[in-house]
């Protein structure tokens, strides 16, 4: 599934069109979809590195990143399980840069907080099926 805002904007398309350079969009989308297409047949407890990882820290409990490295760029769409059992919802597309002064830099900077906020809003009016 993918998060859809009140104004009808879809988190994946939003990310691809705003953040991913135009020449990379097809490749990033296809890579993300290939990962999800294959990962979805594994039980949720089997989702793990190197394709998937939970974010660390009390405040971002339940938020996970998909590890989509494309042409050396570490794209990390954030998501969570739900709203229904056996569903996974992409909440926001993001990019994770190398640690600076011991801190991971996210692009957009508020990616984690946005994911946390959107997770709280998850219901049938805020998700759309992501056909893979």
């Amino acid at each position: 599934m993918k998060f859809v805002s009140d104004s009808g904007r879809d988190a994946v398309e939003d990310w691809l069109s705003k953040q991913v350079p135009i020449g990379e969009r097809k490749g990033v989308r296809i890579e993300l979809e290939a990962i999800l297409r294959n990962l979805r047949f594994l039980k949720a407890e089997m989702w793990s590195r190197p394709q998937f990882d939970w974010l660390q820290g009390e405040h971002c409990q339940g938020i996970a990143e998909l590890i989509v490295d494309y042409r050396g760029i570490p794209w990390r769409p954030l998501g969570c399980f739900g709203p229904e059992p056996d569903q996974y919802t992409l909440l926001i597309g993001a990019r994770k840069d190398r640690k600076r002064k011991g801190k991971v830099q996210w692009e957009p900077e508020n990616a984690i907080q946005t994911a946390i906020d959107r997770r709280k809003m998850l219901d049938e009016n805020h998700v759309a099926e992501y056909v893979l």
Partner: protein
């Protein structure tokens, strides 16, 4: 706002992607890069094997298995794939194909097409299905029961039933069902 993509199936989405020359080759590349490592992991975990156990069976190291299961480092040769298929007792299909076949294959993926069962497990499953529809009569011989389950009589069944003293029904049925299934019936031989 459940308005997007709802009327599109997985196959039509992939079919649309392959209609673009650049996308179709990216798609093949992404599917191979991600599909094989994840399938390897799914088959291993489905059998309850650790990476170390699989490594022992393959005659390699845990580190090599870990690399094979990682899309970033997985670069198996066809020889390695053949060896993996042998260890899991599954078939391996490596061939060039039209894109329509790719769309059907990737668009129609299922849990069984990922965590592929071994030959024996698949045979057992087939027989269970057949058995569930066959009605056994009390007092049927083992040969009759198997014939009812399989739906026809074959020479190999007779051979299997001769082992009744040493093998239970399940052993006979589960141990060699594929041979029964493939053997021609008396009518077919005639």
């Amino acid at each position: 706002m459940k308005t997007m993509s709802l009327n599109m199936s997985s196959k039509s989405k992939i079919a649309r992607d392959v209609s673009d020359p650049e996308q179709r080759h990216l798609l093949i590349s992404a599917q191979i890069r991600n599909g094989l490592p994840l399938q390897l992991r799914a088959m291993r975990e489905d059998r309850g094997w650790t990476q170390t156990k699989l490594a022992e069976r393959l005659g390699t190291t845990q580190n090599t298995v870990s690399r094979l299961e990682n899309p970033k480092t997985s670069k198996p040769t066809i020889t390695t794939l053949k060896r993996i298929a042998e260890v899991f007792d599954v078939a391996l299909i490596v061939k060039f194909a039209p894109f329509s076949e790719f769309v059907d294959s990737v668009g129609g993926m299922s849990i069984k097409s990922v965590a592929v069962p071994s030959y024996d497990d698949e045979s057992r499953e087939k027989l269970k299905k057949k058995s569930s529809t066959a009605a056994f009569a009390f007092g049927d011989t083992i040969e009759t029961q198997i014939n009812k389950a399989v739906g026809r009589k074959s020479n190999l069944l007779v051979m299997a039933s001769s082992q009744e003293n040493t093998l239970g029904l399940n052993d006979v049925v589960f141990g060699g069902v594929s041979y029964y299934m493939d053997a021609p019936s008396d009518a077919e031989v005639a």
